[in-house]
Subunit: 414 residues, 2 copies
């Protein structure tokens, strides 16, 4: 019954591209119109057709990770591209099984995202306390674990990450001595840049013990202990006033029910003449639940906002939204770079963990890349200020007259 | 009873600045802390205290217009600044009478904004079919009746309006021969610019007979009849496909219940490789009703959106939001220029209409200016595209390397 149901679903769903599917009983099925991408998939566990019918999104990732679903030439990108193009083709009906393939039902979403301080710490440890050696194997030299900014298509990853930090620094309009709060400071790269290149006094907060340890050590090694403090705490426990607040790749973990708390805290901590810059993955489509696979294995408690959801929470505060930049495809490029590095270092990652972990990590990076390339994901940079005219009235200040990479001016002046 | 109630309300409300109020019975009252702005108001109609208690926002404008409420030195800007600063002071309670002073209750908002094609035409005639002679007396040379773009504080109005059109044209990334739809084309200035400077084929639609007549005549006079058609119709009745859609200062008239219809129509009319630019007044605060005075006398059926409201309707469509620019204070400057021109031409406006009309118009312009300067109003430019990469992946294209005024390049090349 289950193989036959799966066969029916796939026949209706796969209209473009080509899929060759080998069922657990060895029978071979073909779907699609014969065009590229052409992908071969083999199922070896007899229970997989049932699981793929009942919970396609989660099962796909789990079975690939477990090695019970294999893809010809290990072409996961081809397989996910094929599925996403069929999901996104005009006239595709996003109901029933097809909707479940895209994302899990939204039922229970609020509860899953109920992130009090204690649970937030657990969710963060799940991902960010992984061995630092892993992140060294695929991130850039500064361990920026968020979307890079490709000003030109052939920028290197290191260059694009430097450009990201410089673009954010420009939006913050820093002056030497300003007090900056970095909410979700990661391994300290942004804090180091803002302190070293702009003379800022930075408090970076993270919930990850591993990030806290590494960032603190980097600050010490850079001799910037008098300008940077890294604190292992929840942003909701921070007190005081800051001239600038920056938060890169942290809002994704906040969860919809806490959006008002988040922006309320940003407002409370921000000086009346302050500027804040929130950089987050976003969704250019109606609100929807996070992928079941990503939620279970990669980011428990996470939620990707539609712009309307983030703005509704901002509007409840005494804050001006002074700019919204929407980065499309920059994260697809970033993730492609990361995945290439993971593949180049496959042996070392297997030695660190095992082959199953390597497959999980590649699946996560490729699925994420395609959610930006073929799906509706993007990045929002939301700039906020309590006063109407703290930020200049045109965006000319962000785009210097000569075509220099922002940030190099400061470096050259040293 | 009513004068005493009004006195109580004002005593509680007016904490900063100074108000000297002469009641209809001649008694003099003082409110505030003695600081600037210092304003003197006289009420001459015995019914005004009652009306100001029951419906402060509407009554204030009506009584000033009728001449039963006078302001010392005719300083309406001072009076409204005083009221808005007290409304916006930290800790001010926006309840009861104070909330009513700010805006009318939101009750019945949906019905008031029910704008079918027939009613839209009536609402538009109310405002835009006023004598062209009036608009000539306060708008710029091109009759741009929307927010100008002040790249430098001392730009003239004409210059700032040219910069607005050039900035929008840059966001549209026009190529010669492209079919452009201008929803709410006004007196044709944008259509003329896009056809003349960028070689576009423009269809402009308006519901105002006066605008249609003037715009058609201007197209004929410019010899651009082969490139521009001005049509007297509702945008919902337009069919076909356009490479670009531009809509400047029209979305304010759409009304919240029609937002999905509006963006659905934009999506339907936009080519798959198209770009749309929606320019609208917005509200950097939670959704709220439009001022009672503005709604009754100036723009029946209008509604100023919060960004979350506009975005929610966009997200329901198969569209990428590729940029959101938020103009603060540009409209305050624009309105200040308009009001200065109205005041300079006061005699001619009284001759066209009467003194009551002049007062109504000045009150409208000043109240609007202050809603941008002291209140939470701004302008949103929302750029939309069906495909992820039609618009370049950085905003560098909008900010040319040399500090030239965009648009002058094209003019210089002629």
């Amino acid at each position: 019954m289950w193989p036959s149901l799966l066969d029916q679903f796939l026949s209706r769903f796969l209209q473009i591209g080509s899929l060759r599917l080998s069922m657990p009983d060895g029978t071979l099925h073909r779907y699609g119109d014969g065009t590229a991408p052409e992908v071969a998939v083999a199922l070896t566990d007899p229970d997989l057709p049932r699981r793929l019918v009942l919970s396609p999104d989660l099962t796909l990732g789990e079975a690939y990770m477990d090695g019970t679903l294999t893809v010809g030439d290990d072409d996961v990108r081809g397989l996910l591209t094929l599925l996403l193009r069929n999901l996104n083709r005009p006239g595709a009906r996003r109901r029933g099984w097809i909707a479940a393939l895209d994302t899990l039902s939204t039922a229970g979403r609020r509860l899953q995202q109920w992130n009090p301080v204690s649970r937030s710490r657990r969710n963060v440890a799940h991902h960010y306390d992984l061995s630092g050696a892993l992140y060294d194997l695929f991130l850039d030299e500064d361990r920026q674990y968020s979307c890079a900014y490709f000003r030109h298509p052939d920028d290197t990853l290191d260059q694009a990450q430097r450009q990201k930090k410089a673009h954010i620094a420009a939006k913050l309009r820093l002056q030497p001595g300003m007090r900056v709060l970095d909410i979700g400071c990661g391994w300290g790269g942004m804090a180091l840049t803002l302190a070293r290149d702009h003379g800022a006094q930075v408090l970076g907060v993270t919930l990850s013990e591993e990030q806290h340890r590494v960032a603190t050590e980097r600050v010490r090694a850079a001799g910037l202990g008098d300008r940077i403090e890294i604190r292992l705490t929840d942003y909701r426990r921070v007190t005081g006033r800051f001239d600038r607040i920056v938060s890169v790749g942290m809002f994704e973990h906040v969860g919809l029910p806490q959006y008002r708390t988040y922006f309320g805290k940003v407002r409370e901590l921000l000086d009346q003449d302050g500027i804040a810059l929130i950089h987050t993955i976003g969704r250019a489509a109606p609100p929807a639940a996070t992928s079941a696979f990503i939620r279970k294995y990669i980011f428990p408690g996470g939620y990707v906002p539609a712009l309307s959801e983030a703005m509704r929470a901002v509007e409840a505060q005494d804050l001006w939204t002074t700019d919204v930049e929407i980065w499309r495809l920059h994260y697809a490029e970033t993730l492609r770079h990361w995945e290439m590095r993971v593949s180049a270092n496959a042996d070392r990652i297997v030695a660190l963990y095992d082959a199953r972990f390597l497959r999980m990590w590649r699946y996560y990076l490729i699925a994420s890349e395609l959610s930006f390339r073929e799906g509706r994901q993007c990045v929002f940079q939301i700039q906020l200020a309590p006063r109407v005219a703290t930020v200049p009235l045109t965006r000319d200040y962000l785009y210097p007259a000569k075509d220099v990479v922002p940030g190099q001016q400061e470096l050259a002046a040293e």
